[in-house]
Amino acid sequence: MQMTYLEAIADAMRHEMRRDDNVFMIGEDIGTYGGAFKVTKGFLDEFGAKRIIDAPISEAAIIGSAIGASLNGMRPIVEMQFMDFITNGFNQVVTVAGTTAYRWGLPVPMVVRGPSGGGVGGNPFHSRNSEAWFAHATGLKVVCPAFPDDAKGLMIASIRDNDPVMFFEHKGLYRKIKGEVPEGEHIVPLGQARVVRKGTHCSVIAYGSAVHMALAAAEALASEGIDIEVVDIRTLVPFDQETVFESVRKTGRALVAHEAVLTAGFGGEIAARIADIAFQYLDAPVRRVAAFDSPTPFAPTLEQAVLPNAEKIQAAVRELCNF
């Protein structure tokens, strides 16, 4: 069935809420209003106010109570109105959720999800890509889908997962990206990358919105006779390094791309691992394309300048191929 990225996420959550009474949602304006981006439109009518909880503007209380409910056998889905506001609940995620399995051996099957990313004139406070913070935190799984079918399958896997999952939805993809999504049960296990375009000259390893930039770059480069392979890692934690290495061993060149800022981004981790394990297969250094190290600016001219795009990926690939 054709669905937008947003519809696929809603479909996954509805599927799980119908299937398992322990799944409930908590967030801001998710009930009557259906969420700032309308992801939970109609949920209140179907599931009632006990399972679709409109909470005060209290990110720490929202996430903390979801953790407590997890300890008591529930599987909460937390909506951050914008992923940027996770900073207000950071302590709960990192200090409490991320340490519970290690310290207590107890599951915290909570999903914290919400719109992240830029490119939509969101300003510095509605555009951030903060996934790397959580990959660095220990004890958290980090998911960044790029396509509707993956968004659904990864969401269902995340809800059923016994660890806390940070689920980054790219708000720019919500209504822009449409695709075929299996109806009913559809699971994409966490920790499996997907080769979304086969190629021979250079591997572009990306996730989230950068996958679409890489695919657009691939089209343009194909006309120049450069054939790139695009690997969508889909989840940062767990990280499927095998699929990445396999691709790099084949192409001999690696470019890592993400929309998040460059320094200490997850691309650095991917590049380091490729350099460590696949060094002997490389014909060129591992390069990264990412955002300039700044907050995401507001005016479109500035925002487009600092964020990565298909042209920046093309330029980097050309350099690697001519190295």
Binding site: A55, S65, G68
Partner: protein
């Protein structure tokens, strides 16, 4: 009773006769366990055998014992803080297991990943704290919320200090709990100091329980050295919670009779303040009452106290005989599954 009791600035003080002689004996025995746990841990510290901080709860026995005693330990749930060892005993924690957890030896419920009272024991309905003050209050609220969604009332009892009460998460959790009528009891243990910082530099209101008014929940400030008063006040909070009237905020006034932890000589605390509070020692004053009311004789209390201390020391010794956890444990269980 929706509104907070407005203050004259002085904590309420009243005695109760809700308790049978056996219950009063039991309360005293838990308080002695808390007190002698400290005696034994201080001894260990002086011997240089303690590991990590030794946070004495001297002066707080009545709060942790009296409050936990008001709960139904088969239904309710405890989220203790760092000066609530007495509540662990009330909730039936096995002494040897507690010591092994505290001292992070092989067999710890935390496998050596953490120590002190931070462990969780779901079977005993105890979920320990993290170091970050205030962080577990929304978690405690969420535990009860889960049962509320199932139509069950599970009271969560948790604690925070006069310093920790200034953390933002406390505000969020109380407001959230009040809006959703969550059966949460938060005790603010006002022991006059937060590490070296006195009340005057932590908050500017008269009573910390006055904040309850702003949340639309019940609040009161009481003498935290009177175990029966703490019990009676918490019992009322439990009953309110079971009637669906939501959370309660109880400030207990006590004195931290030692340093923040044993490394701290607490020379910043005026001597006369300590002397004044020493006359209100919760254990000693309760012993006086118990003996006066003929519940136990002074000799019986003395004997109980001695065996309690001996039991604590023996349990510590058994814990210390155990090996440290195997280093491999450090690499396990970061995730439930990966």
């Amino acid at each position: 009773m929706k509104s907070t009791q407005r203050s004259s600035g002085k904590p309420a003080s009243k005695s109760t006769s809700l308790l049978t002689a056996d219950q009063r004996k039991e309360l005293l025995s838990y308080m002695l366990m808390a007190r002698e746990f400290d005696t034994a841990m201080l001894r260990l510290y002086r011997q240089g055998k303690a590991f990590g901080g030794v946070y004495s709860q001297l002066g707080n026995e009545a709060v942790s014992v009296g409050s936990a005693y008001a709960l139904d330990r088969d239904r309710d749930v405890l989220f203790p803080m760092h000066r609530n060892i007495g509540s662990h005993f009330v909730f039936g924690q096995d002494l040897d297991q507690l010591m092994v957890n505290h001292l992070a030896r092989e067999g710890s419920q935390m496998r050596g990943t953490d120590g002190t009272g931070h462990y969780a024991d779901p079977a005993r309905r105890i979920y320990g704290n993290v170091s970050h003050l205030g962080a577990m209050i929304p978690v405690a609220a969420g535990f009860s919320l889960a049962d509320q969604l199932r139509g069950i009332t599970t009271v969560s009892l948790t604690f925070i200090g006069d310093g920790g009460a200034q953390v933002g998460e406390v505000h969020e959790a109380l407001n959230f709990a009040s809006v959703h009528k969550i059966p949460l009891i938060l005790i603010i243990e006002n022991n006059q100091y937060a590490y070296s910082t006195p009340n005057s530099l932590e908050f500017a209101c008269e009573r910390l329980s006055d904040r309850a008014l702003g949340y639309g929940m019940y609040g009161t400030t009481i003498d935290g050295t009177d175990v029966e008063l703490v019990y009676a006040t918490c019992l009322e909070a439990v009953e309110r919670a079971r009637r669906g009237e939501g959370p309660s905020l109880i400030e207990t006034r006590t004195m931290r009779m030692r340093g923040h932890a044993e490394h701290d000589d607490f020379s910043y605390v005026p001597k006369d303040l300590l002397e004044e509070w020493a006359t209100k020692d919760p254990v000693e004053t309760y012993i006086t009452r118990i003996v006066r009311d003929g519940v136990m004789t002074a000799d019986e209390v003395k004997a109980l106290r001695e065996t309690t201390l001996a039991t604590m020391i023996a349990s510590i010794d058994r814990a210390l005989e155990r090996a440290w956890p195997a280093p491999e444990e450090g690499f396990k269980n970061v995730f439930m599954s990966i």
